[in-house]
Symmetry: C2
Subunit: 339 residues, 2 copies
DNA sequence: GTGAAAGCGCTAACAC
DNA sequence: GTGTTAGCGCTTTCAC
């Protein structure tokens, strides 16, 4: 049988509640007693019984707020959030969603302010990639509310941690895949969603750096920016493919893949052009099946939803901060048969 | 507040223990009362509180036995087992390992017999791929002990489920990868560990079938069997590569990769020969880094360790069987940068 | 067949 | 600063 608070109390000759105060660093115990209890607890190798803690914890009825835009990515992340919820709801924890518009910084800020007054127990946020938010998060944190960012980070905001993909690594993986399928030689063009989104920028950098250092016979001929707009993406892709009519490969860091695919198919390049892109949304799956896309790199959105909830829970329940500030999710290579 | 047994008891005008019996299908309640309580519970949407159950469950002190050979795979699986243990030990569950010799059917059988007398609560086993074991498992199951097989299955043995990779799918993925890197044409040879190990046979079949149906320009010239023996593997690989001196690709379903790699390097084929293999053990990682192996397909051994423990726990704690008999772990494509 | 009561380990409210 | 006490939800024992 494991050692319990009750036993420690008996040995120390004090009440259980006193031991409880010592164990949890609560006030109201004399230094003398505190030291004695600590010594005994240590000596006996006391470890809190999770079930006992949970029993008392569950009627705190805490709520974790999820602040995120309503986009493809967060739809997938939600699966992970719900999975985590199943595991922590027994502990009296519930979740409330606050869906914002994708690039609306002001809305996210006002949501955060509201959550302070609502006294939520914790917040998980997929922030707009905008520095203005940083101060709002800082404010939340200063009110004692733990915050975890996911998918996109907000450095120096005081958040507990960031959960997301290692985009630089993902870019390097993409480079290797591209090199393999174009047999280490030829011209490659890059389509990027935005030069100012940190994650996409890193996907580009990782790719370009590895190509330049390891594959002298591969030439990156052009980088095109689409601002994730459908019409622009289609038009610019079409222009690019016509302008560069001897491309071996095309690398897309982000943006609407359906439009890129449309342009490739329209020009009859499905077989000859090798394509590497990101994520595993329905439109990408279709392109994989059609043979337009060769490889896509997934960032495990489910884990990006699941982990933040568990991190916040761990903080609330055990008062433990995560070991690393950056928890990276896997870089998953997918092709047609491995969806 | 969620509805509790206490509330149901009050409404039904019976004792809590009576409600408990009804909820858990225990005997000792009249049909009339049973029906009434059931109706009320249903009506109120009663769901057992996990923490409450756990509190009572934890002093049963159940033990789950893990029966497996001590090989590369199970070393990795153990990480997942320990992770699962962390989650279930609060419920009073502990784990005992029984490491057997790899191809020793008799040892596994006698271990199983012993575990019956020891009255363990559940067993997870990586069985020898041998039909003789089937009856031993059946016997265990007939004693009311739940069994889960992992990594390799034992069909028709009465086990709760099997947790492992979908080897046929893994073979198909390998085929696509190979086709991509040899540009859909050329000669390919296959090295297989054993023609009688179910998993390896399926990896071969999935590969060959997809190549034949989708890639008419790829020819599978030879299949070599190594019996997972180091010396044989090295010698046969060497012979194969010398005999077939215009191979585009080499596909290895299993067996000691270090020896295969040695032969490839010795003949100076590192750059020209494309190689796809399985698993992510240290020797394979080294070959990836050296550029000898292009892709390896991982089967997530950690999940294969983790899931069985959770399945057995779920069965013991909630009396729930898994939904599917075959729980497949992911088919993970890995290359140099994505380890 | 049914009910009363104790107990699992921890926390919190409150009296001293 | 310290102890007493009740209570969280469920299971189990035992008396009736």
């Amino acid at each position: 049988m494991r050692v319990t608070i009750k036993q420690i109390a008996e040995i120390a000759g004090v009440a259980r509640s006193t031991v409880d105060k010592v164990i949890n660093d609560r006030p109201g115990v004399s230094d003398e007693v505190r030291d004695r209890v600590r010594y005994i607890a240590n000596d006996l190798g006391y470890e809190a019984n999770i079930i006992g803690k949970a029993l008392a914890f569950q009627n705190k009825q805490l709520v974790i707020a999820v602040v995120m835009p309503n986009i493809d990515f967060t739809v997938a992340a939600r699966v992970g959030i719900e999975k985590a919820l199943q595991e922590v709801k027994a502990f009296g924890i519930s979740i409330e969603y606050f869906l914002t518009k994708n690039y609306d910084t002001a809305q996210q800020i006002s949501t955060l302010d509201y959550l302070i007054t609502k006294k939520v127990a914790g917040i998980m946020i997929r922030p707009v990639d905008d520095i203005e938010l940083r101060d709002a998060v800082r404010n939340v944190v200063s009110h004692g509310i733990p915050v975890v960012t996911f998918n996109s980070d907000l450095v120096d905001s005081g958040r507990l941690c960031f959960v997301g993909q290692d985009s630089l690594k993902a870019g390097r993986v993409a480079a290797n895949l591209m090199a393999k399928i174009i047999n280490n030689r030829g011209k490659v063009a890059i389509i990027t969603g935005s030069m100012s989104l940190a994650a996409l920028e890193l996907r580009l950098e990782g790719f370009a750096t590895l190509i330049q250092s390891n594959f002298p016979m591969i030439e990156i001929v052009e980088v095109v920016e689409t601002h994730e707009n459908k019409i622009i993406t289609f038009q610019k892709t079409l222009d690019l493919l016509q302008r560069q009519n001897d491309l071996a490969g095309l690398y897309i860091t982000g943006g609407p893949m359906a439009e890129v695919g449309k342009a490739i198919k329209m020009l009859g390049l499905t077989k000859s052009l090798k394509v590497v892109c990101f994520d595993l949304y329905p439109e990408v799956i279709e392109l994989l099946n059609e043979g337009v896309v060769d490889f896509t790199i997934d960032q495990d959105p489910i884990a990006q939803g699941y982990i933040p909830i568990k991190v916040i829970f761990e903080y609330l329940f055990n008062n433990k901060k995560p070991e690393q500030e950056f928890i990276s999710t896997t870089v998953e290579i997918r092709e047609k048969e491995s969806l």
